[in-house]
């Protein structure tokens, strides 16, 4: 597609439930990133994928968070046993390669609310 697409745009879930957030990157972009943005905070890096390399999971806040990228394209971020502190906007970005110069294109995000 023309841009990075994320779904759903909004998600309300009950505490303890699992959620899946989806990201469709720009076609041909080899790198894909997940960030989390809480109220009053900047963007917090979670995980990134580059081609067929093992993902960099260094930003995942707990083992309740996981992500996969199938076929080098679509990615799913899964949060298990959601907690209220997981409420945030989850942003996905893609780029033509890893490294600042390739530039990131962000999606509009998924707003997750845990009640």
């Amino acid at each position: 597609g023309a841009g990075v697409s994320q779904s759903p745009s909004n998600k309300v879930t009950e505490k303890g439930k699992d959620v899946e957030l989806r990201c469709d990157p720009i076609s041909g972009h080899t790198a894909l990133y997940w960030y989390r943005q809480s109220l009053g905070q900047g963007l917090e890096f979670l995980i990134y994928f580059q081609g067929n390399s093992a993902p960099d999971k260094s930003g995942l806040p707990s083992d309740r968070f996981s992500a996969e990228r199938t076929g080098g394209s679509v990615s799913t971020l899964t949060i298990q046993r959601t907690q209220q502190e997981d409420s945030a906007v989850y942003l996905c970005a893609s780029s033509a390669g890893v490294g600042g110069l390739y530039g990131y294109t962000f999606g509009s995000g998924t707003r997750l609310t845990v009640v």
């Binding site: 890096f45 600042g100 990131y104």
Partner: protein, 112 residues
């Protein structure tokens, strides 16, 4: 869309005035810096970038200044317009490798 940062520092400027948004970055090894603009309900959008071998770069109505000695970036917006109202983030990284690391952001509010 929901506001992305209700508790961010806020800069209010009169339409037509110049705006200066400041950012302190954390990693002295960073060699590439970017300013992003984020409007409500949208993802961040690229505004302007600068490499560490430069101390100033100009775009259309925007200028970025880099002071590596004190690890400080600033974004200057000339003749600020209502459409400039948004949250602005600086980000740092290295040209080859590592994800972007974002600052906390500043909300710019333009008074018409």
């Amino acid at each position: 869309g929901e506001s992305v940062g209700l508790h961010l520092p806020t800069l209010s400027v009169q339409e037509g005035d110049n705006s200066i948004i400041n950012c302190a970055y954390s990693n002295s090894a960073s060699d590439y810096f970017i300013w992003y603009k984020q409007e409500s309900g949208k993802g961040p959008q690229f505004i302007i970038d600068i490499r560490s071998n430069m101390d100033k770069r100009q775009g259309q109505r925007v200028t970025v200044l880099l002071n590596k000695t004190v690890k400080h970036l600033s974004l200057q917006i000339a003749a600020t317009q209502p459409g400039d109202s948004a949250v602005y983030f600086c980000a740092e990284t290295m040209i080859f490798g590592t994800p972007l690391v974002f600052g906390k952001g500043t909300r710019l509010s333009v008074i018409a």
